[in-house]
Symmetry: none
């Protein structure tokens, strides 16, 4: 069953609103076993909406349209739909009564424009909207290729989602037989897309129409998405598992987790499991390492805090970095990163201390230490260490990459010390 997801609204075209509805529908319908083949956004004019219907009703088994069902003047979807199918709009007393009841319960006067919310094109089935005033609409229609369906939903994300879960998915499940899509995402960090590709080598013998692999680069690293399309023959799922084990065999060092995990959540699990605490001394990352670590709810159990030592004075006064070391090697050096990690661990009394010091750009680079030169440090019971990162020229990207690298440094140290936790790690 192939699906097109459409959105109607000028606010999307001028970029005022990001179309998160499309992504949510993409995931939800794919998980339900449908093939989402196209997403499209058009203006809220009669011409655009007619063009949308012309282009998609014949070629897609299901067209989902979001937006344009509200009570304001620019919401014309229903009228255009009725005209397009040569039907009239009919007033549904029960929908109107339900709207009136809800307004009364909240003590809000009912605006006249809400009468329009109870109008439904003839032959369309209203879909109950439990949290808003605009019902969804559903219509099956006949085409050469068999029955096609159109669903129109409000653009407000929470309302759209409720109607999909309560009314759209049950209708679709009836239609779809066994075919199912199974997905797994492996999260890698510390290696670029092309080098990872090389490391993985030739995977073609594991890939086919029904077992696929995609590379998704992101700020924390490249994600690998494995997909198996399973119908009567269950073998694609087994072959996908084989593909996963081959990937882990060839590039497992770079795999830090899977699915919805993040570097900070993986590190959180390891720290908690082994009763460890952490502190961070941040120079170039300016607090972002600690901010990410504390994004995990309950992180106060293992994050003590840290020092953002943007100036050299703070490195000396709060972290005890010797003035001589700063003078001899400069703030961006192996020696200073090591001293910072030691210093913050000592000052905060934690099991591990981390540190960052580097030149993120755009200014501050020299011939010897160009923009993108970053040292990351770690100190624990077994001693202190530091690694050099050579990053690019974009400040924001450099900051994200440094945060990922220092969290990964911690992850690898914990794995090395204690062994892999659960299924992850190397």
């Amino acid at each position: 069953m192939n699906v097109a997801i459409a959105a109607i609204g000028d606010e999307l075209l001028i970029g005022q609103v990001v179309n998160t509805n499309a992504a949510w529908l993409g995931t939800t319908l794919t998980d339900a076993g449908m093939a989402v083949e196209k997403m499209v956004t058009v203006a809220d004019t009669e011409e655009s909406i007619r063009g949308l219907l012309d282009e998609h009703l014949d070629t897609f088994d299901l067209l989902i349209v979001t937006g344009g069902l509200g009570p304001t003047h620019d919401d014309i979807t229903k009228q255009v739909l009725a005209d397009y199918f040569n039907r009239s709009l009919q007033f549904h007393e029960n929908i109107f009564e339900e709207i009136r009841r809800r307004f009364e319960a909240r003590g809000i006067p009912l605006a006249r424009s809400n009468r329009g919310q109870a109008m439904v094109p003839e032959g369309f089935e209203p879909l109950n909207n439990p949290i808003g005033t605009a019902p969804g609409l559903w219509c099956d229609y006949e085409r050469e290729q068999g029955t096609g369906s159109i669903a129109c939903l409000p653009g407000v994300p929470s309302e759209m989602k409720r109607i999909v879960q309560e009314s759209v998915l049950p209708r679709l499940r009836e239609r779809i037989g066994g075919r199912n899509i199974i997905r797994r995402t492996l999260l890698t960090t510390g290696i670029g897309e092309s080098n990872l590709n090389e490391e993985l080598g030739d995977l073609s013998e594991y890939l086919s129409q029904d077992v696929r692999l995609a590379f998704l680069p992101g700020p924390q690293g490249v994600r690998l998405r494995l997909t198996a399309i399973v119908s009567d023959d269950p073998s694609p799922e087994r072959r996908m598992e084989k593909l996963e084990s081959v990937i882990r065999e060839r590039a497992g060092t770079y795999v830090y987790g899977s699915g919805e995990e993040t570097l900070q959540s993986v590190v959180a699990d390891l720290l908690r499991e082994h009763g460890m605490t952490v502190s961070v001394a941040e120079s170039c990352t300016g607090g972002l390492v600690l901010s990410r670590l504390t994004d995990v709810p309950g992180s106060s159990d293992y994050v003590a805090g840290g020092v953002v030592a943007y100036s050299n004075e703070v490195k000396v006064a709060l972290l005890g970095v010797p003035q001589d070391t700063l003078g001899a090697h400069g703030a961006v050096s192996r020696q200073v990163a090591t001293e910072m990690a030691r210093g913050v661990r000592r000052a905060l009394g934690t099991s591990v201390g981390l540190a960052t010091s580097g030149i993120l750009g755009p200014g501050g680079g020299t011939e010897e230490k160009p923009v993108g030169t970053v040292w990351i440090g770690l100190s624990d019971d077994s001693g202190a260490t530091a690694s050099l990162l050579r990053l690019g020229l974009d400040r924001e990207t450099n900051k994200e990459r440094t945060v990922a690298a220092v969290l990964n440094l911690l992850r690898r140290r914990l794995v090395k010390t204690f062994g892999a936790s659960g299924e992850e790690g190397t």
Copy 2:
């Protein structure tokens, strides 16, 4: 000049990635005076990409395509483009040398697949990608309706944006004449959308078809977007200026800047102008205030650093918050926020000290101090002060709002002390 914005990528169709590129391009191209009439996403198969070109090249003056330019097997856009236009792919030595140079500078071995990054379809112009390996592509072609253009850009947002700003917009500006859209965005913080609306009162006499106002809520506050559509008659621009001055008159207290400014860039200008330095003691924000402050290039001139005091021990040891004060009032209190601001200012020797302490959720709330209870503090020559924020239940939103509130506290203090700088402030 009408535009279609297309994206290629299965990861978008299955909802794994939200298409934020489309929204950014929508805003950027609309601001540059173009009419964005359609957005579309298709799969990375030859058939889908050919369908995309068939459908849009004739009817749109400009087709922008993002994604599918990377070095891996699922990135086939260039090959399909070359085949579609009956051209061959040509190797560009200078692009390859530039990629090689960048890899060498970072000490990373160059993977063989990067050779493909230097292949460009004949007749296409490569667009320099200053921060990645895949260059953009540009091609003008003849159609019945005159010259049409296609631009292909990498899907990585930071790379896409740089190429648009440095190579695409300059090419488009040459083309566009007469009708012009003038935009101005006023940035407000510390007030919600409906209360701001109330504060502004009736503005209908200043609004018309060609002078418009939109409310855009975001994490740092509500942005007000003013738009004037100017053709032969220049008066809409004057009327937009009038509208702006009325808004500033009625709600100026909440306006902290305009255009691309941010709270941290406005604060940066004020601190630099008055030779002030700042430090921050962060509890609940976990380092995000300092991370934002140091996102501004050159921020080492006025940011000394700070302490992330996630645990009470750190509040005592590094910030000198008296154990008694913590015991009597708890960490989330006016007294502790005040002491933290004083302590960090003293420890780092800065002109101003800031502090945050609160319960962001989901856990940790009590009847007396429910989730969303946050204290922010400030200490400077004139003394120390703290304010209470009562936020909601979402951890991430609460963190963003706290960061905005503490930066705004600093901004208002600086404006009060020194008067407004330039055009901004109250």
